[in-house]
């Protein structure tokens, strides 16, 4: 088994301690940071993400795999910068204003990051203006809004409106999710994409950004 295969397997099994040894080993062997990221860390994470999509893996497996992947990306971050690696795109993420439930949002963050997408986590109770400000200042490609309460769902529409008012609506794809959200609600508030779980969100985000790059 090559070191890269070992890295992928370690991520898949959530073995963060192994990653701490394997990534330096791969660097010593002459692998580039880009290779370690794509052929090792992300490959392992994608296996878990696919299994999650097929209901063969569950949140615990995803969380520990993401923890292992993050340990690896921490180690190669300086090298990635030196190599000029660019993430696939940039997203800002938060629970909408009035909503403090962040467990789902945090899982989305891990899954989206596992697609080599930079995520700016705005936390909970995020007002529309904060999303707008972040889109403008950070040049985000995606806005990811989460809500668990039916009372806070309308803030997703307010966020879309705020992006329109600021003149940046066309620059971003607005993705919405959370237990009470439906495709009909997504359409009604003028968001672009609804996904029903974190894995689907990460997959769609990746597709959208790849399409944007190749356009």
């Amino acid at each position: 088994m090559s070191t890269m295969d070992e890295i992928a397997a370690a991520v898949e099994k959530g073995k963060a301690k192994l990653i701490k040894d394997l990534v330096p080993k791969a660097i010593e062997e002459g692998c580039s940071a880009q290779e370690i990221l794509n052929d090792g860390l992300l490959r392992g994470m994608n296996v878990v993400g696919d299994r999650f999509t097929r209901n063969e893996a569950f949140v615990p497996e995803v969380l520990v795999a993401a923890r292992a992947m993050n340990k690896g990306t921490e180690l190669i971050k300086p090298l990635l910068l030196a190599e000029g690696n660019q993430p696939l795109g940039k997203a800002c993420l938060g629970t909408v204003q009035g909503d403090l439930h962040d467990i789902g949002k945090n899982i989305v963050k891990l899954m989206v990051e596992s697609k080599n997408i930079e995520v700016i986590d705005l936390g909970v109770d995020v007002p529309p203006e904060k999303f707008v400000e972040t889109v403008i200042n950070e040049k985000c490609d995606l806005v990811l809004c989460s809500a668990l309460l039916t009372t806070t769902m309308p803030m997703m529409g307010k966020t879309v409106d705020a992006l329109k008012e600021a003149g940046v609506r066309d620059q971003v794809t607005v993705m919405v999710g959370g237990a009470p959200i439906t495709q009909a609600f997504c359409d009604e508030v003028g968001a672009d994409v609804y996904t029903e779980d974190a894995a689907a969100c990460a997959n769609r985000a990746e597709e959208i950004l790849k399409a944007k790059r190749s356009a």
Binding site: E61, D102, T150, T151, I181
Partner: protein, 371 residues
């Protein structure tokens, strides 16, 4: 032919087919929603059981009387939940819904060893003191708060019975597994389970029996026969089915059997997705568990699996109640009623009805059986 709410409830527990739809009990679950529908502020219903009772009476006038109701007012529910909370009128606007805050109470897995040494009752008491706002500094404060809860419960349970309704439970608890998940926070707890579940399992096995005995005493003191168990962290939304089978189920099964032996039904509030876990409830005595589903679990599949074995309640979706039409609610209820006529089914909402539910949609749930 059962006609009172208690008779309907007993009919449901008997797991026998309903001869008429009017025999089926209905439980549109509300707690804070009573304030919204009854025109009493969230601040008031969280601070005063009397104000909450006032809101219940006003709501019943609007949407009709349910058979089953939550018997504890929001202020005590928040206290008992075991998570730090933001409260309307304190950290939130007067009419906002209370919300729990997920943050780690302890950062080091070594805490599990401390729990094993201290014992669960002492550790849990300290935890409950520390998460109050402001934290309690004297155990006497906690005792006084439980005393206040007892006085409030006497009032709210008395109200429920005086109205001819059935309380959803006569005593309530969260399994130790779920309390630990909330105290440690979901991410860290999950990593602990994956890295080394041993100390967590040791705590559950050592202390859950004693915690159950304490709850049995609480239910018996209320002359009751049902315990509400809030075990949301044990669902497949949070843990894998393998973890459930290896870690949670052996302890939960023993708890169900312990309560059953004491003549107490285990009312499992099963928020989130329990679909892969439902098969295990065929392993415990018939009628020992009543399961409340919130829409994430496949209710049809569950009913097919458990029909004649355990009873279930569910699951009109929150989003439909807030944004749907009366016709949509009626159609959804009708589908559930037709499904549940073989017995052991209670028509209800999926978890709590949201604050912005349309009154006519809530009324449509009750009317679908009583209209």
């Amino acid at each position: 032919m059962p006609r009172s709410s208690m008779e309907r409830y007993q009919k449901m527990l008997s797991l026998t087919p309903y001869a008429e739809r009017d025999e089926m009990p209905v439980f549109p679950m509300m707690l804070a929603t009573f304030g919204a529908l009854g025109g009493v502020s969230q601040k008031d219903i969280c601070n005063s059981p009397d104000k909450w009772i006032e809101s219940v009476l006003k709501t019943i006038e609007i949407v009709g009387k349910p058979d089953v109701i939550m018997p504890v007012y929001p202020g005590d529910t928040i206290f008992l939940m075991g998570l730090p909370a933001r409260i309307p009128g304190r950290e939130l606007p007067d009419d906002a819904l209370y919300q729990f805050i997920e943050k780690p109470y302890f950062d080091d897995p070594e805490e599990y060893e401390k729990i094993l040494q201290m014992g669960w009752p002492a550790w849990n008491a300290k935890y409950l003191m520390d998460i109050q706002t402001p934290p309690f500094t004297d155990p006497g404060q906690l005792g006084a708060r439980f005393g206040q809860f007892g006085a409030n419960a006497a009032k709210t349970f008395g109200f429920v019975y005086s109205q001819g309704m059935v309380p959803d439970f006569d005593g309530a608890c969260a399994p130790i597994f779920d309390t630990l998940s909330m105290a440690r926070s979901m991410f860290d707890f999950t990593c602990d389970l994956m890295d080394d579940p041993g100390p967590i399992v040791d705590i559950m096995r050592k202390f859950q029996p004693g915690a159950d005995e304490q709850t049995i005493g609480q239910v018996k003191a209320n002359h009751g026969s049902r315990v509400g168990v809030y075990a949301m962290r044990s669902s497949s939304t949070f843990i894998s089915p393998d973890m459930f089978e290896e870690i949670v189920w052996p302890v939960m099964k023993a708890s169900i059997e312990r309560f059953h032996a004491a003549g107490i039904t285990y009312v499992l509030h099963a928020d989130a997705n329990w679909t892969p876990m439902m098969k295990y409830f065929t392993e415990v005595p018939r009628g020992s568990v009543h399961i409340e589903l919130d829409g994430d679990t496949d209710i049809e599949q569950t009913y097919e699996l458990l029909c004649g074995q355990q009873s279930i309640r569910g699951d009109v979706p929150a989003t439909m109640l807030a944004y749907g039409t009366v016709d949509e609610v009626r159609a959804y209820c009708e589908k559930l009623i037709q499904m549940g006529m073989r017995g052991g089914f209670m028509l209800g909402s999926g978890c709590e009805i949201p604050l912005n539910a349309k009154p006519e949609n809530v009324k449509a749930i009750v009317d679908s059986l009583r209209g």
